[in-house]
């Protein structure tokens, strides 16, 4: 692998930057692999990387029906935080934040992880109570989170409107300083480059059309648009399409897929120093290093695979943004898009074995999967390699819905849905 460094940049500069090679190969699929990952987003590529790096499984492939990072990895608003209520969630999401903190060094790829702080606004008495409960629960779990008065919130984020003549005035905020953002494409590309270097075959434009099982019921091959590929282990990181892929193996899941929209403004000079989330009035905003305001909206009310979503959903969010940040009222939006998010009844993910031997699934991240990319990838790889979950993802099974061990982050209102 061609290492990236200041010296390498200087050396290539002497040659007119003409010596850079492609960062990963584009191989044709082999007839068989030791394991196959379905889904070439950050989660799937990361799982392949950790399988190769930490578990010595080098004869593996990642199958992607489109292009790398073209699904939800490239469609989210890149918010990273771990201030979830329950112990299980704190374990999983903070595992991710800790991996994020070393990821650029580990991958030799600048994923532009920026711990600029995530501030969640409270607008009602109920919000205040819930967020303060979160602050205490998080600190008991070793996750940083602190309560700010409206004045302290404005000091942290100067464009914020804390006047009391809003429909929903800001009554305070919970701030996780270790939270922030990262460059979404770089995460997919960094994992792809590092996995490829360890021998992983990354195969784009290869859609899985079927999963074959042997007489014992275990997986034995995947049927794809590039032919049959034999494998004893399949890991699925297909986000909104997980129900479709697992349906090929006859597995039903407690998932529903919804469109979730985001949009970016025209680029402007640095004006917005952190991430601000308001669950009550549905606004999520930060500023990218290119200068665009990155804005997240809510989901549509109906299930869909259209990657589109209704215009009134975005409009609703922009109205909230304009009230919270009056300075942005005259800004123009450049692009608006949707991704398909797979939502579980308790709004917690599933990273687990399935009832089918050799079939593993990482899904149900709903509206917040990007932040968990390294942690999901790491624990999925562990689960595939050892055929048993890592202690961190052990609670996140499919069977929790049967056994009543829900991890109910929906009721805990960590995020709006």
């Amino acid at each position: 692998m061609q290492k990236f460094s200041a010296f390498e940049l200087f050396k290539q500069g002497l040659n007119g930057q003409a010596g850079w090679k492609p960062q990963w190969r584009s191989p044709e699929p082999k007839a068989a692999y030791d394991a196959v990952i379905i889904g070439g987003g950050g989660h799937g590529l990361g799982a392949a990387y950790y399988l190769a790096k930490q578990h010595g499984m080098r004869n593996i492939a990642v199958l992607e029906k489109g292009w790398l990072g073209g699904g939800n990895t490239g469609r989210n608003t890149t918010i990273i935080r771990s201030n979830y209520l329950f112990d299980e969630s704190a374990g999983l999401y903070d595992h991710s934040v800790k991996l994020w903190e070393g990821l650029s060094q580990e991958l030799n790829y600048n994923v532009m992880f920026s711990q600029r702080g995530v501030m969640m606004l409270a607008h009602t008495v109920h919000d205040v109570q819930v967020f303060k409960r979160h602050v205490h629960a998080n600190r008991a779990n070793g996750v940083d989170n602190e309560w700010l008065s409206p004045e302290e919130a404005k000091a942290y984020c100067p464009p914020l409107n804390i006047s009391d003549n809003m429909r929903y005035p800001v009554l305070g905020a919970a701030l996780q300083r270790r939270g922030g953002t990262a460059r979404h494409d770089a995460v997919a590309w960094g994992y792809a480059r590092a996995a490829d270097d360890l021998g992983v075959d990354i195969i784009e434009n290869c859609e899985v059309t079927g999963i074959r099982r042997n007489a014992a019921g275990a997986v034995e091959a995947v049927e794809t648009t590039k032919g049959l590929i034999r494998t004893p282990k399949i890991g699925v990181s297909a986000a909104g399409h997980t129900s479709v892929v697992l349906g090929m193996a006859g597995v039903r899941l407690p998932l529903e897929s919804y469109p979730l929209q985001a949009l970016v403004s025209e680029p402007i000079k640095p004006v917005f120093p952190c991430v601000v989330m308001s669950n009550t009035i549905h606004a999520y905003i930060s500023q990218s290093d290119k200068g665009e305001l990155v804005i997240g909206a809510g989901t549509d009310i109906y299930t869909s695979y259209t990657q589109r979503g209704g215009l009134h959903i975005s409009q609703h969010t922009l109205e909230a943004i304009c009230e919270l940040f009056p300075a942005f009222r005259r800004m123009r939006m450049l692009r608006n898009w949707g991704g398909i998010v797979d939502v579980t009844p308790d709004r917690s993910p599933i990273v687990a074995k399935t009832p089918v031997p050799g079939l593993y699934v990482n899904c149900g991240w709903g509206t917040g999967g990007f932040k968990a990319t390294p942690g999901a990838a790491h624990t999925l790889a562990w689960t595939i390699a050892k055929d048993e979950p890592h202690p961190i993802n052990a609670p996140f099974t499919i069977e929790r819905f049967r056994d009543g061990h829900l991890i109910d982050e929906a009721a805990a209102a960590a995020v709006a849905h």
Binding site: S243, L255, E256, S257, I301, T303, S304, T306
Partner: protein, 96 residues
């Protein structure tokens, strides 16, 4: 914004409606007879199809009545709406 045809009121904008999830999931007639797997299936497992989806809608800000619809989740096009209690129309969709 979708245009949805309520079987009672006719075509109305999406804002008047709420979505009620997958249709034709009947409440168990003998709840005490169900085991944990059957409860899980009833409460949580969903088809989530890419293609024709039979789903409940409620015309909340209109007649307030529930009805069912067949909608293509790859295009969001409503193929047909029908009253609660009626059987699912026998239609083949793109991925059905």
């Amino acid at each position: 914004m979708l245009l949805i045809t309520c079987p009672y009121c006719g075509p109305r904008p999406e804002l008047e409606f709420v979505h009620g999830g997958e249709a034709h999931i009947a409440r168990p007639t003998q709840p005490e007879a169900l085991n944990a797997e059957e409860w899980t299936e009833y409460l949580y497992m969903r088809a989530n199809p890419k293609g024709l989806h039979a789903e409940r809608w409620r015309h909340l800000h209109g007649c307030a009545r529930f009805f069912n619809a067949l909608r293509d989740t790859t295009t969001d096009q409503f193929v047909v709406t029908y009253k609660s209690g009626e059987a699912r129309p026998d239609l083949k969709g793109p991925a059905a």
